[in-house]
């Protein structure tokens, strides 16, 4: 048996504070479609960045066709025949397809665009990548743009193609076309690696699968030897879920009621497809799901930051209306957003100004001129109460650690005594201590009768905090289960797109 | 509010640093030449453009250099690039404060500021070029540029083949309108079919805009470009297109060797000498000087080799008539653009009418913004 086309051995990469890859192994053979499966943050992208020469591993070796290589820059990787289609395309939109393929080609100043166009047409016919070489990029659909990216790589004689979540932007029809193209390329002797977290996709297109979790290789399996259930378990982890210490509570009145909610994402595609949810006072509803399945859009609609197409959102019986964040705040909705330092806090302002973000309209600061001294006193009290550590009340908050930022954010949102608290990935990127604090604060709020909508990727966190868990997949709620009755495997399957009914069946 | 001190610091430091330098500079002993210069009479010039404009300001600066050469007891200084606005008042004040006894302000827009500053410095003589306001210690001076302009018009009228002449003009003020009229009258005196197309640039000095304006005239069919502008830009445009051009202010043939036919030019030197001598002798009066070709303050630059002898003779003859006083540029009959007789046969425009003219003669194509 010949040497594998790509072999990565014992790859380790450490970023300040995070071990992104730890002793990762990956072997891909020519003629194979290889899926790299894992949750967000499992280390897939880092591994591929190392393979394409963007990062250098702290330890480990890479072999291409059995020869050890040492990529010093992306250019080295390209020369070794490795190419990547990124999630965000790197195309120049006013240029034509041909011109985009020509960009970065070697061979001096002479450029025969006509000949190039003919060659492009040839490549696209051969692999079934239909695209007009003369069309300008901005005229093309997202799917067509992706084809241009692939043509770029094929034209450069790439033998290893890496695709980062290629179907995320595609319609089902386009996705099927893509699979058949990938199969043709594999048949030509290329190796295809695609990054994904969708189980269906893996089963449909891949020959073999490597699963990463927490920066480590879990396993490499052949498709024939596995099924979705096993993959789901490997992806989310077999660890025993820690449960308990959560005082029992009988939920109170319904606070948040969502009916038939539909909305679009930033690209204008449907992101929410008829969401029905309710959260009661003193209840934590956890939403599980792989990031990018509509969770962000859901909280944005509730918070009044995104228009909804259809459906209603009511808090305590009051309709929140359309895209009016001010009204949402007045209805008593606290919101701990995913993007702490971009949306939740203003990086260059101090703690006082950041704490005022939702309180500044309050008449208690004075009628015309704001009483800065009173605001400062109030801020100081909050900072003390929530034990936020910082250089000073006026130092830009961007200098604070992640844990302290989250404390500051929670201090503000909780101090407003919300009826409903939206918490999105509240412990992401935090260390154990800070995570502990966040969990304690959320449970305190639950005890105080606040309705909490908790969005998390961390199943352990959900099992620990939530009273009920809903699973979101592609803009739909796959099912809602009380935590005590929830089964990890079922949740994993629903995260991969199986409906609750099917699971139980 | 926390960040304010940084720039404050820069300001303080700059002032301190300059102060330090000032201290050092103050200690160096004044040189001999400086002491001698103190006995000399100081004469100041205010220029609207840079001395290197190869046009209006350059011509004045030639006059300044001539003055310094002719009168060894005079020392001159100048300030260039002074906008025709509030800055002029400060610059004039500065020159007066520094002990300049005679100050020549060489652009129309300085007029009100000259009068204002003259009031404050009664011992200083102010001379304002091209204006019309005077004071006991402020006079005006200018020249009958219409005379050489008329002659240059004759050259253009003879050299054109398309019978369309282009005229790149600065501002629609009497000085410029007068020149356009004289040029047109001259051209039509030798070629009655000639039309003169006018483009306004609204700037005295802007090489790029002037050139662009000339190109637009060339595109409109003009084959000789005249100008009331301070740079050789329009002539360079003509040179590039292989057409002809008439310069202004000074002989600009070096900038457009094959295009530049001739130019109505200024010769300020002798007048500057005469004025400064009069101030020194105490004979100076606040007059409104309007020099003519006879006085030598205006003239026609040498002809380009392409101008035929026949044309040269014709122009030379007319020049003599002007100098002898047998020919006057604005003598009747003169029709305006609508064909109405403005100056009857045998009549003449008065000096005041000439100075305040706000209409075009027949043959000019263009509008005066009203």
């Amino acid at each position: 048996m010949s040497a594998p086309l790509v072999e990565m051995r014992g790859i380790r990469k450490v970023f300040p504070g995070v071990v992104a890859n730890d002793n990762v192994n990956l072997t891909v053979r020519a003629g194979e479609i290889h899926a790299l499966l894992g949750e967000n943050g499992a280390g897939k992208s880092t591994l591929m960045s190392i393979l394409t020469g963007l990062y250098r591993p702290d330890a480990g070796e890479i072999y291409i066709e059995g020869r050890k290589v040492n990529f010093r820059s992306p250019r080295d990787a390209i020369e070794a025949g490795i190419g990547m289609v990124h999630q965000h395309f790197r195309l120049v939109s006013p240029f034509t397809v041909t011109e985009n393929v020509a960009l970065g080609l070697k061979g001096g100043l002479r450029l025969n665009l006509n000949r190039l166009a003919v060659e492009i047409a040839e490549v696209s016919r051969k692999y079934g990548l239909q695209v007009d070489p003369q069309a300008r990029i901005w005229q093309l659909s997202v799917g067509e743009q992706q084809r241009v990216e692939i043509i770029k790589l094929l034209y450069r004689k790439a033998r290893v193609l890496i695709l980062d979540e290629p179907t995320a932007v595609l319609t089902p029809q386009e996705a099927r076309d893509l699979y058949s193209t990938l199969k043709k390329m594999a048949a030509e002797g290329c190796a295809v690696i695609f990054i994904t977290h969708k189980l269906q996709e893996v089963m449909e297109a891949a020959d073999s699968i490597t699963i990463l979790r927490g920066g480590k290789t879990v396993a490499t399996v052949k498709k024939e030897e596995t099924d979705e259930k096993e993959l789901a378990r490997m992806m989310v982890g077999r660890d025993v879920i820690w449960q308990g210490e959560k005082p029992k509570r009988s939920p109170g009145d319904t606070v948040l009621q969502i009916k038939g909610l539909r909305a679009l994402n930033d690209k204008g595609l449907p992101a929410l497809k008829g969401i029905e949810l309710s959260v009661a006072s003193g209840e934590i509803l956890g939403i599980a799901g792989v990031a990018g399945n509509g969770q962000r859009e859901l909280v944005e609609v509730i918070a009044g930051l995104r228009p909804c197409l259809e459906g209603t959102v009511t808090v305590g019986g009051e309709n929140l209306g359309q895209c009016d964040p001010c009204r949402v705040i007045q209805c008593g909705v606290g919101f701990v957003p995913e993007d702490r330092l971009g949306m939740g806090l203003v990086p260059n302002l101090g703690a006082v100004d950041n704490l005022l973000l939702k309180e500044y309209r309050d008449p208690r600061w004075g009628r015309v001129l704001m009483d800065r001294r009173a605001a400062r006193r109030w801020a100081y009290e909050l900072v003390e109460r929530f034990q936020v550590k910082m250089a000073g009340l006026d130092a830009p908050v961007k200098l604070m650690s992640g844990g302290n930022l989250q404390r500051l954010l929670l201090a503000r949102e909780i101090s407003g005594h919300p009826r409903l608290l939206l918490a999105v990935y509240p412990s992401r990127g935090l260390d154990v201590g800070a995570t502990e604090t966040v969990h304690r604060l959320l449970l305190e709020q639950r005890a105080a009768g606040t309705a909490i909508l908790l969005i998390s990727e961390d199943l352990e966190e959900l099992f620990r905090l939530a009273d009920r868990i809903a699973v979101m997949y592609e803009g739909e709620i796959m099912g809602v289960v009380p935590t005590e009755e929830a089964d990890l495997e079922d949740i994993g399957l629903m995260m991969a797109g199986a409906k609750k009914m099917e699971v139980s069946a | 509010m926390k960040k304010a001190p940084r720039i404050l610091m820069i300001g303080v430091i700059l002032v301190l640093a300059l102060g330090l330098l000032a201290g050092c500079g103050g200690q160096s002993p004044a040189s001999d030449s400086e002491q001698k210069q103190e006995d000399k009479m100081k004469v100041g010039f205010v220029y609207v453009g840079p001395v290197g404009d190869a046009g209006w300001t350059w011509a004045h600066d030639q006059g300044r250099q001539y003055l310094e050469k002719q009168l060894p007891w005079v020392v001159t200084s100048y300030i260039e690039n002074v906008p025709e606005g509030p800055d002029a008042e400060r610059v004039l004040t500065q020159l007066a404060e520094e002990g300049h006894k005679v100050i020549f302000a060489t652009s129309f827009g300085y007029m009100d500021y000259v009068i204002k500053v003259a009031e404050k410095y009664p011992d200083v003589v102010f001379m304002h070029c091209s204006g019309y306001k005077t004071a006991p210690n402020a006079g005006t001076y200018f020249g009958a540029m219409e005379e050489p302009r008329y002659l240059s018009g004759m050259v253009a009228g003879k050299m054109t083949k398309s019978n369309i002449l282009g005229y790149v003009a600065a501002h629609p003020i009497p000085e410029v309108i007068r020149g356009i009229n004289a040029f047109t009258l001259g051209a039509r005196s030798v070629n009655p079919d000639v039309k003169v197309k006018v483009v306004w640039t609204n700037t005295w000095y802007d090489p790029a805009a002037e050139k662009q304006a000339a190109l637009s005239l060339l595109d409109a069919g003009a084959d000789v470009i005249a100008q009331h502008q301070d740079t050789p830009g329009p002539q360079q445009a003509a040179q590039e297109r292989g057409k002809y051009a008439i310069g202004y202010n000074c002989d600009m043939r070096q900038f457009a060797p094959s295009a530049s036919l001739t130019a109505p030019i200024w010769n300020w030197g002798p007048y500057y000498v005469q004025t400064v001598e009069a101030v020194k002798n105490g004979t100076w009066q606040p007059e409104q000087y309007y020099g003519t070709m006879k006085d030598g303050i205006v003239d026609l630059a040498p002809f380009n080799d392409v101008v035929p002898q026949e044309v040269r003779d014709l122009v030379e003859q007319k020049k003599q008539e002007i100098i002898e006083g047998t020919f006057y540029v604005f003598q009747g009959p003169i029709k305006d653009q609508k064909g109405q007789i403005r100056v009857p046969e045998g009549g003449k425009m008065s000096h005041e009418e000439v100075l305040g003219v706000d209409w075009f003669v027949e043959g000019v194509e263009g509008d005066i913004p009203k």
Binding site: R327, L356, K358 | R6, I79, P83, G85, L355, K370
Partner: protein, 356 residues
């Protein structure tokens, strides 16, 4: 493989805040000195004369103040828009519209007494300047049209509009067709400090600086401006109305530039004329930037600039050409700005790490 790169400093070190500006100015003066010496001038004398021209006499100081007034007011306007990341490049045009509005009042109602005339000129000047900015603000707020382009283009429109007036309908009948309006009546001119040209505009500028400071740091509106300027996402999250603020802030910005125009025609030129602003609106941008958009600092930097301009003219009588003076001014700016960058970024020289 050696390489050079930039790295952003988290917080500028305190000693650099002192050393860098000193070094910048010394370097600028040093470079200027070499250049001056090479072209045959005594650098000490040139610098001395520059300083004396700008600050060496009561007259020099007063002229520096006169020059600083329009720069201060326009720059305050620019800085408030920049604080919200609204790149209002149109202060020049708003200045012209303010001058136009004030002139309209002065010419149309020549019989009004000063106590009616001046407030009317003030208000109309501000409103026109403000509206001119709003012309660009509305497309920006509604459809995200880049205000850099629109405000810049509107400058030309405003300048040409004023040119049309002074060359056409508003031309002084006694002006021999020169591009000037008739002079204003006494009632339409701002009071000056006797013996100088320093006019009431100075008070406008200082008041505006104080008010702006209060607005930005002590009012809810100012708070919104600061938050939006730092993070639009956070502002939306907090329920602030971004569109309304874009329009309001642009109006304020334009109104200040318009006030600069009003105070220039009413305080200095006493008439509208072609080229009323020698680029005050553009210089205001540099000032706002150097002053880090801080009102009090804007006032100081404006004086610095005015001093550079006034001092620049005064060294010309030593025979230093205008171009050399501009070069000196440029060198000082260049080094101060360069020094600013050095305090915020760290320059790296090093070798690329070698992979094991």
């Amino acid at each position: 493989m050696t390489w050079i790169g930039w790295e952003k400093r988290l917080q500028p070190s305190p000693w650099m805040a002192v050393v860098v500006p000193v070094l910048s100015v010394v370097l600028a003066l040093g470079l200027g000195a070499i250049f001056l010496a090479a072209t045959g001038f005594d650098p000490w004398k040139v610098y001395l004369s520059m300083l004396k021209g700008a600050t060496g006499s009561k007259y020099g100081i007063s002229e520096t103040v006169v020059k600083a007034i329009p720069l201060m007011i326009a720059s305050l306007g620019v800085s408030v828009a920049f604080r919200m990341l609204l790149w209002n490049i149109g202060a020049e045009g708003q200045f012209y519209m303010g001058a136009f509005g004030a002139t309209w009042v002065a010419l149309t109602f020549p019989h009004w007494p000063a106590y009616v005339m001046l407030p009317a000129m003030f208000i109309v000047g501000c409103v026109l300047g403000g509206l001119w900015a709003v012309v660009a603000a509305i497309p920006r707020a509604r459809w995200g049209v880049n205000e850099v382009i629109t405000t810049l283009m509107l400058n030309y429109v405003a300048i040409l509009w004023v040119d049309y007036l002074v060359y056409g309908p508003w031309k002084d009948p006694q002006g021999y067709n020169f591009p000037l309006t008739a002079p204003f009546t006494e009632a339409a001119t701002l009071a000056t400090i006797p013996g100088t040209r320093v006019h009431l505009g100075l008070l406008f500028a200082l008041t505006a600086a104080v008010l702006l400071t209060l607005i930005l740091w002590r009012t809810r509106w100012g708070y919104e401006i600061r938050v939006i300027g730092e993070s639009v996402k956070a502002a939306r999250y907090a329920g602030m109305n971004i569109e309304r603020n874009i329009i309001l802030v642009m109006f304020l910005s334009g109104a200040l530039a318009g006030l600069a125009g009003m105070s220039e025609v009413s305080g200095v030129t006493h008439r509208l004329q072609h080229g009323i602003s020698p680029g005050y609106g553009y210089t205001a941008i540099i000032i706002a930037w150097l002053a880090k958009l801080h009102p009090a600092t804007v006032i100081l930097v404006s004086f610095l600039f005015a001093g550079l301009i006034v001092g620049g003219y005064s060294v010309q009588t030593m025979g230093v050409p205008a171009a050399t003076v501009s070069m000196l001014q440029g060198a000082i700016l260049f080094f101060v700005l360069g020094g600013e960058i050095l305090t915020r970024y760290r320059l790296h020289f090093g070798r690329k790490e070698v992979a094991r």
